[in-house]
């Protein structure tokens, strides 16, 4: 099983999260590329640290919206989106290669992730940007999404991720954050769910039923001290239980 996390989200004088701590926990790092967060110096540092630890480097591509942290839907033309995805991958890969690694996968950030999960046109544009970089660059997707289908249609290697700290509907969709119970806060429960997901591919859904959820990677968060601690606990429980942690690519 793979653990992925969003890293390199500082910008200039501003910091976010604890990149160093998380790089000791995850096996794949989604590194911001300067459009929604990150700058050249942050990208270099996180690529170097990831490469040293053997953590797989992923390009965390987002809308060009620093002020909104890429969390606001932007009605960008598909051809422009494909270009901006390609730009971000190329920029990050320069640092990955300088650190004797390379960008091994792409993950969409924030509003782009949410939009490309359900909108076939934005999904296709995202995939086109990835495919143009090179044809075997992987895309990390929500399961059963337009993004996943667009990747498969274009021959781009697609992988699915799940969230141990989020409730799922019986159909396998994330419960909206606006509803109660959407985010799980009990650390023991979250770690136990992560273990079940990793070993059985199943999880209890929001209505108490059994949901099959094929995930190649589990996404963990690192933007608060508590989040880092939870991520560490998930890693420890998985490792103690004999789950081998390694990047999905």
């Amino acid at each position: 099983m793979d653990l992925n996390s969003d890293l390199g989200e500082g910008f200039g004088a501003w910091t976010m999260g604890d990149d160093e701590a998380m790089l000791d926990i995850v096996t794949s790092a989604n590194i911001a590329c300067g459009f929604h967060a990150g700058d050249a110096s942050v990208m270099r540092r996180v690529c170097e640290r990831a490469a040293e630890r053997g953590v797989a480097i992923g390009a965390h591509v987002g809308y060009r919206d620093l002020a909104g942290f890429g969390r606001r839907a932007l009605d960008i033309a598909p051809e422009d989106l494909a270009d901006e995805v390609l730009y971000q991958i190329g920029a990050l890969d320069a640092f990955a290669r300088a650190a004797h690694s390379c960008v091994r996968y792409v993950k969409a950030h924030g509003a782009l992730y949410n939009t490309a999960a359900v909108d076939p046109e934005q999904a296709a544009a995202l995939v086109e940007g990835v495919r143009r970089y090179h044809t075997d660059l992987a895309l990390l997707c929500p399961p059963d999404s337009e993004m996943l289908r667009a990747a498969q249609a274009a021959g781009v290697p697609a992988y699915a991720e799940a969230f141990a700290d989020r409730a799922y509907t019986p159909e396998g969709r994330l419960v909206s954050r606006k509803l109660p119970g959407a985010v799980l806060h009990d650390a023991d429960e979250v770690a136990a769910r992560a273990l079940t997901m990793a070993t059985t591919g199943e999880v209890v859904d929001a209505e108490g039923g059994k949901l099959t959820l094929r995930a190649d990677s589990l996404c963990v968060h690192g933007d608060t001290p508590g989040a880092v601690e939870l991520a560490r606990r998930i890693r420890e429980l998985l490792t103690e239980s004999g789950v081998v942690l390694r990047s999905f690519v």
Copy 2:
């Protein structure tokens, strides 16, 4: 002899210069990478057109200053500058490679060009960014500059450029634009100087003496209709006179 020009300097809804016309004239294109000008869509288009015509693609790297078009000196830390240079090269190379070409050289833009010509520290940072991308990526420099020396010291292939429409001091420096006669406007004279530079490596300096000016490339401008016409005239005169035009890399 090579002819180079600054291209891809539009941004979003704003255009600058006539990229299409210039790509039929030059043999090397210095393409803006989004920091002082250019955006992902402009970069893609210019890379595609350059690749189609066999024009060499160069990364025209600049300070992160869209509002100032990279023309204002910025006291950036050398390690940050090296990172930003690397970022820009990587971003452009993604488009160059998608167009089945690649970034073959780097040229600094505006205030970065001027500063790195005389400041050893910024020159070394620029060169470090280039060298980290890969060790045989070339740098196009002012002749007899700190930039050229820094490149040579680091083992980065360095090439020198000259300007047919600018007056030179007897020491081989450009006459300051603030002085009368710094920029030559007579098209016949400029074209004739280009030919002399290309065939003899010599040019008459601002005091009437003979100056030896070893240049691997001549820089021509394309940001006004008159500039495009002058560039075309230079190309025609060189070609008619038997000078073979091809990229310096």
Copy 3:
């Protein structure tokens, strides 16, 4: 009748339209405030020129999206939108007051204009930003829009504008630009429509019927040489026909 136009849309080294020419034609200037276009120096210059000619100064507020020229829908939170509208008005008013004038009205630009025309929430946020600057600052709106209704509900003086070069449906909506005949190109026809709108408040709709269209202002464009010429023709025809041109505020 008032003629309004979008001005001050340059940015840094990039220019757009012919501000000088248009300021001799219009009675109200919608001046970009730096979010989708414009910078401090452009704003100062256009405010000075407008004030000299007695042209009313309006704040042309837009989404924070220079790369997209404010033409892309952005799902910004309403409270953030109200803050960004207020920011832009304040910034422009500093230049208007330094030129011994003041911002007399606000008009939304691009995607914000289109969204706030139909979305009650964004309309209310736009109006809230205007109202907070001061309570008698006017808002220039599409006729029969959510924006107009939100302004009226908040007690903000609201005015309606029409386009002489656009076809209208029998319901008084603009025919979508995606449909044939949406934009009228015949200069004589456009000028004649402008005159009819100004004198009778009526216009022939896209199906040949008679449409009542109460407009306080006619919007004219200035971003191409042909557009400037057309705007001048409209002004001349109105003036020759005895229509008094003056700002609506």
Copy 4:
């Protein structure tokens, strides 16, 4: 005596310092205006909180350089600098007025502060931007600086600030941060210096001599938990010692 501090330095999803805590300590708030830090929503919030507490609102104007937090010297043309200063003041004042207060003074940030302290041309441009907003808007300056002289020459009310935690040369200049002992870390010593500055206008310089330092305001920092604690201690010692704290304007 006045205590001033740099506030509102977050941007989008990024935070910096503890604005709430500092607003209970200071009597004047230097609020970032969006060029080096701050955005419309941060500006609104800090203006509202400052107005509620009767803290004077100052426009903390900086270079247009979010990536560098305004800490890098930028060779901007003086007329552009004056325009950018005016833009920032106007934008902040919109929020100050909406909170039933107003911008009462201006302070330069970072590299602009340092440059305008010694460069007469940038000092004059800064002052020109302030003066154009209105003629009795104050400028908070380093003592004995070009900035102070430029303000006095232009008839702009000028006030001087001192730093309790910085060593001064016998000539009254700050000891360079590159030298040992430039920044004082002992809280008791710093608070005691603040009290001496406030009550006697004198301070011990770096060579042990007595330095007369006329300051209208003391600058305190709030960007770390320790800094907030130190600022609180200074406030308490001054208050306990009978020094009345109120804004200098």
